[in-house]
């Protein structure tokens, strides 16, 4: 222990030649490496979206209701699901598998609520006429600036980024379902690893929500006032 205290801020010394240099198993390290690579995927998409947005006239079409209300409730669902997942992992570390399973099932429920709300929100926009490469006609009229129309790529960035995130939530829910079903056969570390993935999905949403939704609020209510 004393060597550990002395090692302090020298990571190479911190290893101490043990079989687990990071004091985590290879599965957990693998999940961490996957998370790092997946966060680069989302970073690239968000940077691509910002690139398009900075070089074009960009529509800011989201009304308080339904878009912002829905996305805020969805944020609440994801944050709460992270909390229940932490409780599940905590119960699992104490060996209480039954309790861990209940918390994980609650996590899945919050995740499912997120997906359902998000699909309803998509439905609103699709019904309004938004497509990956087309804007609704009245959006074009409202958001044209100095004769330059808004970029029709709004839909492409919106559906690609939120769609990929929704896919992650869906796969995460299936992953957790498998973990909950097989929890008696799994080690604690496996439960903790599934938690890492779930928290990562939550973390990504913490960037998607402000950049996609909050930055595209129709502040003056221009769209609601326009005839369509």
């Amino acid at each position: 222990m004393s060597t550990e205290a002395q090692a302090g801020h020298f990571p190479a010394v911190d290893w101490e030649g043990g079989a687990f240099p990071y004091r985590v198993g290879h599965r957990k390290l693998g999940m961490w490496l996957f998370i790092v690579s997946d966060s680069l995927t989302f970073s690239a998409l968000l940077i691509g979206y910002s690139y398009l947005r900075a070089s074009n006239v960009w529509p800011t079409p989201f009304p308080f209701y339904p878009s912002i209300v829905f996305s805020s409730v969805m944020t609440f669902c994801l944050l709460s699901s992270s909390l229940t997942m932490v409780f599940g992992v905590s119960a699992s570390s104490k060996g209480d598998k039954a309790k861990a399973r209940k918390w994980i099932l609650l996590t899945i429920l919050f995740g499912a609520a997120f997906i359902v709300l998000h699909l309803i929100e998509w439905q609103h926009l699709i019904h309004e006429g938004l497509r990956p490469f087309f804007l609704p006609e009245h959006w074009v009229q409202v958001f044209t600036q100095n004769g330059v129309p808004p970029s029709p790529l709004f839909g492409a960035t919106f559906f690609a980024i939120t769609g990929l995130h929704m896919f992650h939530v869906a796969t995460g829910a299936i992953y957790l379902l498998v973990v909950a079903a097989r929890i008696n056969k799994l080690k604690h570390e496996d439960v903790e690893i599934s938690g890492l993935y779930w928290h990562f999905v939550d973390l990504v949403w913490m960037f998607v929500f402000p950049l996609i939704y909050i930055m595209s609020v129709d502040i003056g209510g221009h769209l609601a006032a326009a005839p369509h």
């Binding site: 944020t75 570390e189 938690g195 890492l196 913490m206 609020v217």
Partner: protein
């Protein structure tokens, strides 16, 4: 090498009270973001504040929910700095983005719009 180094630490540090307080903080920061959305302000200013808040939230989630605060420093140093550098390298595209604003294609006619939705009979 001492014996305790040869196994993986399975203890999950942090009390439920701590996690609930982190959850409350995350909710408060989210509400602040929604509030800011309706404050009229400069776009760059808004973007800076929102990204700052997002980074704080990401830090809270990684440190406590993802348990990184309780892991070894060597793991954190292996994962995070390289990721941050890679993400920052992506910013190299932005000068081109700002430049292309001046090169934008000027539509002579109205740009393409979606065909009107088909009415259900």
């Amino acid at each position: 090498m001492s014996d305790h180094e040869a196994h993986v630490d399975e203890h999950f540090a942090g009390s439920n009270k701590l996690f609930i307080s982190i959850w409350v903080w995350l909710l408060v920061l989210t509400l602040l973001e929604i509030f800011l959305a309706y404050r009229p302000m400069e776009l760059h200013f808004m973007l800076t504040i929102l990204l700052g808040l997002s980074l704080v939230k990401a830090f809270l989630i990684m440190a406590y929910f993802m348990h990184l605060k309780f892991e070894r420093l060597s793991l954190i140093l292996t994962l995070i700095p390289a990721l941050v550098v890679c993400i920052l390298l992506l910013l190299v595209f932005f000068p081109d983005s700002f430049r292309s604003q001046g090169l934008r294609y000027q539509y002579k006619e109205a740009p393409p719009v979606a065909p009107p939705p088909v009415e259900e009979p």
